[in-house]
Structures are given as structure tokens and as C-alpha cells.
């Protein structure tokens, strides 16, 4: 697979420690200024906030931890891992299967739409940054509407092209997902900035633990036990007033 930039050509996808450039690229795509619209998604958290179930920092951490272990770890994170591995092998059939699976397991319409919207915005933003042919081919499929373009699968493919390790790609995705939720909670509950900072700090260890757990899981472990969060995502469609899209 052709690397994104010439100066990344000597980087290996298999090393545990990513090169500085690959790591910085990973930071860039998770920067809050990276315009893919993750700040507009709450994945059902807004329903909890409106029902007054998230009032304190501890409530927020409890929600995020449940979302992390009962949803992200066993869905998106496994898909990223599988997509990363399939992209290295340029296994298009496997990626198409993952793409369909990603949409099928997001039962709540808003969560499914969020996954596609983020994915499409992500590929539009990263495409001009590199010249990877495999990623460009995947974008053509999205542009031709032959696939939806779910974020987790795209993120896995993109990560494989940058030279960042699979472990760091997964861990950063988990961290960024929770960090985004906390920032959204800071605005919606609202909390003070310091409360948000403390909450994210307290979630660092669970994120590391979750990333380690993901590395032991395969596609057979895909599941969604977070039925309460899923129901909240479904009910979010019917909320009277909303700050977030999902």
C-alpha cells in the first residue's frame, strides 16, 4: 500500500511505537479543529441530560465508561481493528462486509446517520492530505453511492495508510470519542471547563484498559449490550428541543 506522504515511507504499520509524523497525523485528525462534525453528536447522551440523569461529574464518567465498554469496545473499536487489518491486505470484500455490518448494528437511525455523516466528512477532509490509492478507491465507492462510508471503517482504513499502529489508532479513537462526549456535556448540562478536564483525566485509565481489551477481541465478539444508551439514541429523535444531531 502506498503511504500518504513520501516522508512516511520508511514507517512500519506493525511497530508498537508509531513514528513522530504518524503520531502527529493521528493527533491532527482528532483535533477539535478537524472539521468532521463530531461536536454535533451526543449518541443518546442528550436524552440522559434532558431526563436529568447526568447532573454531576460522576454521572458523566459513569455514562462515558458504560458507553466505552458496552458499546465502543465491542462495536466501532473491533470494526476499526478489522478494517485496519483488511486495509493492509487490501481485502476489499472484507471491508465491504465490515461496512455493511457497521450500518446494520447501529439500530438507532440517528446513530447510523451520524456514522455516515462523520465518515463522509472525514474522507472529504483527509483525501486532499495524501495520495494513497487504496483510500482514493474507497472514496470513489462512496462518491458513487455504492457504499455508505461509515466512519469506523474509514478510520481503520485511513489509520492503516498513515503508519500509526493499530493499537494507537484504536486507543485514540476511544479517547477522542469520550473527550467529544465530555466536551458536549460541558456545553449541554452545563459543567465548568475544569469539571470537563477532570472527567477526561479520570477516563484516561479506562480508555487504556479498553484499548488493551479490544486487542484481544475479534469480529466474533461484536455485540451491543448498551441497550439503555441505544434506546436513548432512538428516543433522541423525538425530543422536543435538541442541541445535538444524535
Amino acid at each position: 500500500m502506498k503511504r500518504q506522504k513520501d516522508d512516511l515511507n520508511n514507517h512500519s504499520n506493525t511497530v508498537a511505537t508509531p513514528t513522530d509524523s504518524a503520531l502527529l497525523q493521528l493527533f491532527q485528525i482528532h483535533d477539535s479543529a478537524f472539521p468532521i462534525g463530531s461536536y454535533t453528536q451526543s449518541y443518546g447522551m442528550e436524552t440522559y441530560i434532558q431526563e436529568d440523569k447526568i447532573r454531576t461529574k460522576d454521572d458523566l464518567i459513569e455514562f462515558c465508561t458504560s458507553f466505552l465498554f458496552n458499546n465502543l469496545v465491542r462495536s466501532d473499536a473491533i470494526l476499526i481493528q478489522e478494517a485496519y487489518a483488511a486495509a493492509l491486505k487490501q481485502d476489499v470484500d472484507k471491508l465491504l462486509e465490515l461496512e455493511q455490518l457497521c450500518g446494520a448494528m447501529k439500530l438507532a437511525k440517528e446513530s447510523r446517520d451520524a456514522s455516515v455523516n462523520l465518515g463522509r466528512q472525514f474522507i472529504r477532509t483527509v483525501s486532499p492530505l495524501g495520495t494513497d490509492e487504496f483510500l482514493a478507491e474507497w472514496k470513489e465507492r462512496i462518491d458513487a453511492n455504492s457504499i455508505k462510508g461509515h466512519y469506523a471503517v474509514l478510520y481503520g482504513i485511513y489509520s492503516a495508510t498513515t503508519g500509526v499502529s493499530m493499537h494507537h489508532a484504536v486507543m485514540m479513537y476511544l479517547y477522542a470519542s469520550l473527550s467529544g462526549l465530555v466536551q458536549n456535556a460541558v456545553r449541554a448540562v452545563p459543567f465548568g471547563q475544569n469539571t470537563g478536564v477532570q472527567a477526561i483525566n479520570e477516563l484516561i485509565h479506562p480508555v487504556k484498559e479498553a484499548a488493551d481489551l479490544v486487542s484481544t477481541l475479534t469480529i466474533e465478539n461484536i455485540s451491543n449490550n448498551a441497550l439503555g444508551i441505544e434506546l436513548a439514541s432512538m428516543r433522541h429523535e423525538y425530543l422536543f428541543s435538541r442541541l445535538f444531531i444524535s
Binding site: 458499546n71 450500518g103 446494520a104 438507532a108 447510523r112 461484536i222 449490550n225 439503555g228 428516543r235
Partner: protein, 271 residues
Amino acid sequence: MVKMVNPPRRHHNGKLDLEFELRRGITRMPHVFQQPPLKASRELYEGKDPTATVYIMESSGGMVAGDRNDITIKLAPDTRVRLVQQSAMKIYPSHTGETCFYKLDVDIAERARLEWMPEVIIPFVDAKFQVDTTLRVAADSTVLWGEIIAPGREKRGEIFDYESFRSNFKIFVEGDLIAFDSLHFSPRQLELGGVGVLEGAMYIGSVWLVSPNIDDVDIRAVQETLRVEEGLQASMTRLEGNAIHCRWLGRDQWALQEDMKRIYALLAKMV
């Protein structure tokens, strides 16, 4: 003295293959293969309705460690079928540590219609159970499918005392996977009552509807009729393509089941 040793129990492997065809405008079930403990009734009809109603029975009373049930159901074009489980599905304790498997494969051809409203699945203390359900549906066919999962024998105080419960539910429409609902509950490893999971609920209800007439269902209007009260929450969502999903989480079985059956009947009438 010779010590008597009980021979190891042989596992049940129930099989049921049901094929439905349209004969002179009436749905018949000309091909049936049944292997105990699974059995099917003959076709029954309500008045002049050509829909075939068939009862599915499990004569052993429940599944025990390592038992296996395989059911395949095929609906030929234009057939109309209603399947009813005769009693709750009981999963007994896994004294050997083996898992019970239940596999349901359903093929629904063009313009056919299937309704399946099963009884509750009850995993007893120490039970290990896996159910894999696959519905393969033609774009212009209809399927209305329900499922209720209990926490155990609640009235005996068995609440999430089972070892493991796995359900992999898939719907394919014209070969495309449009829904994958996968629950992997191991109550000894996962705090099921926690925030984001079951949140105090004990019963899980699900209804799935695939229909070419799905646009006739005003989801928001039906959503507004859903019974929401202390200990019962529910919601509906549109799936990819011509499909709807409705989920209930409830503390009380009867409140959940009553509302679920009401919505099931409402949706059946709408499409």
C-alpha cells in the same frame, strides 16, 4: 458391590423444517420434517383467512446443557404464515458447562408474509444459551417478528443468575444485511443493571418489521402511543431500507408484554 453409574445424558437435537406453498390461493405446509423434541401442528385457519397458522411445540419442556434445536422455515412466493410458540422457552441449568444452541433460519420469498410472536425465553440459574436467528427477506415481502427475553425465573428470585446468554439476530433484505442485533450477556462479568445497559429493567422486548408498505407506518404517531411509565421504557426507529425496529426495556413482564402485543397487532394491521 457394583457401583451404579448413570450413563451420560444424550443431547437432544430437535429439528423442524417447515415449507409453505400457495395451493389454490390458500397457504399450505406440504413439506414438514420434525425431529423430537420439536414438533409442529398442522395448518390452522381462522375463517376464510388463507393465512396458515402453525403452532411450534417443544415436547421436552426445555433445553438442557448441550441441547440443540434447529428450525428452518421457508415461505414460497405469495404465502401468508403465522407461527406461534406454544409455551415459554425454558433453558435449564448447564450442569455440564455446555451451551444450548437454538438456530432459526427463515427465508421469505416474494410477496410472502410471516408473523412470529414467540413466547418468553427464560434462562434458568447457571444456564448457557445461544440463539442465532437469520431472516432472509425479499424486498417486497413482509415479516413481523417479536422476541422477549426474561432475566430468569423471576418469581423464584432467579434474576440474571444465568451463566451466559447470547443472541445474534440478523435481517437480510435481498442479500443486504440491514439489521444485526447482538446481545452477549454474562451477568457474572457484566453489571447488567448499570447505566447504559439495562438500567434496572429485567425484560427485553423487541419487534422487527420489514414491509414494502413501511411508509404507511407513521413512526412518530406510533411512538407517541408507546406506554412509558416508571420501570418501562420503549422507542421505535427506522432501520435501513423498508424496516422498523421497536425495543422495550421493562421491570414488569406483563406491562411490557401487554404493550408489545398491542404494538405488534397495530403494526400487523398497518402493513
